[in-house]
């Protein structure tokens, strides 16, 4: 068994798919995994694949033209899932897709198609929730910043929404776990960039100094009607897990 491995970003994954395919080892003789590989298996050969812009573009072009634009978007979102098996699922989905064409996205009876949609749905839901629950902080008139720790890599999926919402503001959203940040300079396009633990720690500290957070907490406390208090219902809509980076639940 040969295992093709790569970093957990879209360009690397697409390149990895390209190389796995081109190796012609037979689909059943290979596996694809994103790194890190927690427990290497004994009788596997591991091949690390470096990202290659040319191969990456070729794979994307094929998905779009031979399958469909929808399939491409599904694959993109699925690739943002935290599950390390996602790359293998995407690969198998594409194997089927290149044989079947656009109708593959309707073949929910196929296990890899169903698995891909499960990934897609989870990522889509999470990016939805972060659109609502992301909180920005700001010191004086500096840029707005937000620290989050999503399970899936949702930065590029929430970006268009916030870019539309605040086109002329400087803002950034940093993913603490993946140590990447989405930067949006006012009136310009956004981009991704790595952040250091020091920068994250600095922001973590700085958000305590935002004067509007206490105003928001005051509002949040005042607006609930005691006679209707219903913490169970609140928890259903807003699971505790999401609250850790939300201003109104911070101490």
């Amino acid at each position: 068994m040969v295992v093709f491995t790569c970093h957990d970003d879209f360009e690397s994954m697409m390149t990895c798919i390209y190389d796995a395919w081109a190796a012609r080892l037979g689909h059943s003789n290979i596996k694809l995994r994103v790194e890190p590989i927690e427990e290497p298996e004994l009788f596997c050969e591991y091949r690390h694949i470096h990202p290659d812009p040319e191969k990456y573009r070729k794979v994307i072009r094929s998905i779009r033209s031979k399958i469909s634009e929808n399939a491409y978007q599904d694959v993109y979102r699925a690739s943002m899932h935290w599950n390390p098996d996602k790359l293998d699922i995407i690969y198998r989905f594409l194997v089927l897709g290149f044989a079947m064409g656009p109708r593959v996205t309707r073949m929910l009876g196929e296990p890899y198609v169903a698995a891909l949609f499960d990934l897609d749905r989870k990522v889509t839901n999470e990016s939805h929730q972060f659109r609502e629950f992301i909180r920005f902080s700001r010191l004086n008139d500096q840029a707005l910043f937000s620290l989050i720790e999503p399970k899936c890599n949702i930065l590029t999926l929430v970006a268009p929404h916030f870019a539309d919402r605040m086109p002329s503001e400087n803002w950034l959203i940093a993913d603490k776990k993946r140590r990447i940040a989405l930067i949006h300079p006012s009136d310009k396009n956004y981009f991704l960039t790595p952040v250091t633990p020091q920068e994250l720690a600095h922001m973590e500290e700085a958000r305590k100094g935002d004067t509007y957070s206490s105003l928001w907490k005051a509002f949040f406390q005042a607006v609930g009607v005691e006679a209707r208090a219903n913490y169970r219902c609140q928890r259903n809509f807003l699971p505790l897990w999401y609250r850790k980076d939300m201003t109104e639940f911070s101490r």
């Binding site: 919402r165 005051a218 949040f220």
Partner: protein, 512 residues
């Protein structure tokens, strides 16, 4: 004791949001607007919830009063003139800054601005106007704005605000004239309906000017529902009748003419005529809503639902909200202070409201003068079905959309899926389940290719017993929200398909 010191901004916010929290409509839905360079904000028709308060309700907008000063003395209201409270007001600048800074931090989708009446209604709305004008022009705010119209304000100022707001609302407060007189002596139905009629007219003018239909869009399913409350063939409830016609011994005297008068007839806008340009500026594009207080006065559910239907039909309201009365003041005309808010009743009314807007029911299908209140133990649709067993069972493989919707356990989505699926293949009970049909309830009312799921007698008492057993435990939870989960519109066995996260948000914001 008078408090001299002017409260600081945080204190003001506490006071003025605390005073506004009893208004229930906090949705940001109904309008799609993209962002724009140089401006701040956009708007999504589906609405976005940013948080959930301790009472489980969604927080979408900064819901505040401009001031809690009030010249009126509505008995149920925390801000009534005769209450000893700290009174304060926001300046327009303060309110703009808070809105903008909250919005940038992704706390809110926009502003819900209401107000106590300071000096007089027109003056109050001028202050509101100044705030909204600043927000839209100086602060270039493109997010959502919901503005209350104060009954009695000049039509010109209501018009000006309508061009800045996305949604407007005038609170109906109480469904009958008698109750209103008793509890809100400063208000009259006429004064409430006049701005409502004006807003309806101006929304309509705007819609026609941009080539839309005169009436607001409704759920697409309604076009397949004969006799739904929005269709012109549907029986229209006259608001005037709804107000008085069913009160026990309600007199239909001369005073009634006053109510029929101002209905949706165009309101002459005195003073400056709207310039041609004005007619193309969006006027309250997310429509108009209202709310009624439930349980402070003796009206029955039938009266409430009749008024609700009439408001949809005559004023083309986007939503009617109900608010379970929470005792805040002691008064001999009010329920005692320890009265629990009638949450179950409020819940039943929302369910019935759903049936009017999405299921093709009319108020008179659900209740009547001789059966004026909802069944405590059954949701309104089950209750209706049990009283109409002669229409059941319905054959799933041939029934129309409208017939399917009448079945307890089948909702819009599952009905739609059934129609799609039976074109391609044969239906059976297990496939119905995957389409979101709740068989636990639907099984008593349907056949599939001539067969019922089990051999069950179509017999009222039997089915009632079966169905109420399912519901009892949930009802207890509803009445005891502190210990148990409150039912919301979708786990109340009413919307059948397990909703996705997205769906539940939409339901909360009234967009499903």
């Amino acid at each position: 004791m008078k408090i001299k010191k002017e409260p600081d901004l945080e204190e003001k916010l506490k006071i003025l949001s605390d005073a506004a929290k009893y208004d229930v409509a906090c949705t940001s839905s109904g309008v799609d607007r993209k962002g724009e360079k140089g401006s701040l904000g956009n708007s999504r028709a589906c609405g976005i919830c940013h948080s959930f308060a301790a009472d489980g309700r969604c927080i979408s907008l900064l819901k505040v009063l401009l001031t809690n000063h009030c010249i009126y003395d509505c008995k149920y209201c925390i801000n009534r003139r005769s209450n000893q409270r700290i009174r304060t007001s926001f300046t327009p600048e303060e309110l703009c800054t808070i809105t903008i800074e909250f919005y940038k931090r992704n706390y809110i989708e926009g502003l819900f601005l209401s107000s106590g009446v300071i000096k007089n209604p027109t003056y109050t709305m001028e202050l509101m106007y100044r705030t909204l004008f600043l927000l839209r022009t100086r602060y270039h705010f493109r997010g959502y704005i919901h503005a209350k119209a104060v009954p009695g304000a000049a039509p010109e100022i209501i018009q000006e605000i309508g061009y800045l707001a996305d949604r407007m609302s005038v609170n109906m407060e109480l469904p009958t004239r008698e109750s209103l007189q008793l509890l809100a002596p400063g208000k009259s139905h006429q004064a409430i309906l006049r701005p409502m009629g004006q807003i309806r007219q101006q929304i309509q003018d705007y819609r026609l000017s941009i080539g839309k239909t005169a009436s607001m869009e409704r759920h697409f399913g309604n076009q397949y529902l004969a006799g739904n409350i929005f269709s012109s063939s549907g029986e229209k409830s006259r608001l005037a009748e709804a107000f008085t016609g069913t009160l026990p011994g309600g007199s239909r005297g001369a005073s009634e003419a006053a109510v029929t008068g101002p209905a949706p007839s165009p309101v002459p806008i005195g003073g400056k005529a709207p310039s041609p340009k004005d007619s193309h500026r969006p006027f309250a594009p997310a429509g108009q809503s209202t709310q009624m207080i439930i349980g402070a006065t003796p009206e029955n559910d039938y009266q409430l639902l009749k008024v609700t239907q009439a408001l949809y039909q005559q004023y083309d309201l986007k939503r009617v909200f109900f608010s379970a009365y929470i005792p805040l003041n002691e008064d001999r005309d009010l329920p005692a202070l320890d009265t629990a808010p009638p949450l179950l009743r409020e819940h039943r009314l929302y369910q019935a409201d759903w049936l009017l807007r999405y299921y093709g029911f009319q108020a008179d299908d659900l209740l009547s003068p001789s059966r004026p209140d909802f069944n405590i133990f059954l949701d309104p649709k089950c209750d209706w079905a049990l009283r109409h067993l002669e229409l059941f069972p319905i054959e799933i493989s041939t029934a129309s959309y409208q017939e399917l919707l009448k079945v307890p356990g089948i909702g819009n989505k599952s009905a739609w899926r059934i129609l799609q699926a039976r074109r391609c293949g044969r239906l059976d009970f297990s496939s119905l389940k995957t389409m979101g049909v709740v068989l636990k309830r639907a099984q008593y009312f349907i056949t599939c290719h001539g067969k019922m799921r089990y051999h069950i007698p179509v017999e009222e008492d039997f089915i009632t017993r079966q169905l109420t057993q399912n519901e009892k435990s949930s009802l207890w939870e509803l009445e005891h929200p502190r210990t148990y989960r409150q039912l919301s519109l979708f786990d109340d066995h009413f919307l059948e398909a397990a909703p996705t996260v997205e769906d539940s948000r939409k339901i909360l914001t009234g967009q499903l």
